[in-house]
Symmetry: C2
Subunit: 229 residues, 2 copies
Amino acid sequence: MKTLVIISHPDILESGSQQFLLNAVPSEGVTIHHLESTYPSGKIDVQKEQELLDAHDRIIFQFPFYWYSSPAPLKQWQDDVLTNGYAHGKADGRLAGKEFGLVFMLGVHEREYQAGGRELFSISELTRPFQAMAHKTGMTYLRPLTVYQFAYMTDEEKMDLYIRYQQKLTNENSESLASRERWVSEQLRQLNTNDLEPGAEDILNHAADLMETNRTTIDELQVVLDQMW
Amino acid sequence: MKTLVIISHPDILESGSQQFLLNAVPSEGVTIHHLESTYPSGKIDVQKEQELLDAHDRIIFQFPFYWYSSPAPLKQWQDDVLTNGYAHGKADGRLAGKEFGLVFMLGVHEREYQAGGRELFSISELTRPFQAMAHKTGMTYLRPLTVYQFAYMTDEEKMDLYIRYQQKLTNENSESLASRERWVSEQLRQLNTNDLEPGAEDILNHAADLMETNRTTIDELQVVLDQMW
């Protein structure tokens, strides 16, 4: 699976959360595409963008949440690139069958996004336009990754975000325990252990073995349970 | 009451619906402000925009519905002009107490905007970001004026739109029959009758008199009814 991350941020170098996530991007299978630095004049190369979309299976919009939506350059990208005939229209569009996800940062606490909260509406309500876009273009809308008040996050929360972000970019579209275990196990085996102390690779492989063995045991128990009923 | 109509449209001169509505704009009390022609470079004069907002009581966003939202220049305007400190923040923002409304044109039939329809979501759902903006800035969110498939509208539907648009710009925020009657009566009395045939002014004034008399009668009946219970 190839993932395209389209980032819109007016000042990405100064953004702690964006830099943190950029560091988490896996070295393979992910294309990072920052609109403001690709098109400083604002003029978008529509054909090049459509070719980029064609070459990827999962499309991610990544941005700070400005006035309950994306920054304007990403909106311009939508209006210019997702044309009638390419992304929708009479026949199935060229995005049909791909996956679509949002990754966005919010300056307000999560609890405010609900009836009675200061922001009044939930994230699911505020992102309806993106859901409608995924629907019209035939893409599967993924569960979004929302990052609330990055600056106040603890180190532990940041490490959790690091993993969840990598999964959002590269894991299959499943939040099942089995799927996440498989993903972590793969990551453990692929880790570059040259910089770690001697024996670290053995430990990582052992952890991966254990997870896979546990999974096999769980699967076998599940089969037994299924036969009992 | 003074109304500011902020229009975002990439090609307003070629738009039949925009030109139709521009013709309907009352000569007094309404400021028309087209972003793309005011700022062809895209660079927005924030202070000038904030002064414009200060000078008006009702703010209207008028635009074609692109990807379930406004065109990008209006989004840029929001991000640039509605700053923390001006439009929101610790104290009440400067927009608090004003009214806010949307006027937008859609290329798809009204019936598609619902569960089971091609667009999946209702207009109330898709415009949540604007409702949240009005909420955060302390503005009263008006019932939107939605124009579906203008090119297919009959002459009668267009005349109805003409009136509803004028009311959206200048009538008090009330959809009551009494309020709309009062508005029509005022319009009749203010009509420029120089171009009409002789006697036309008498007829218009007579119509206005009749409406006002009817209203007085209805109000009196209401008082009697209220006393009976």
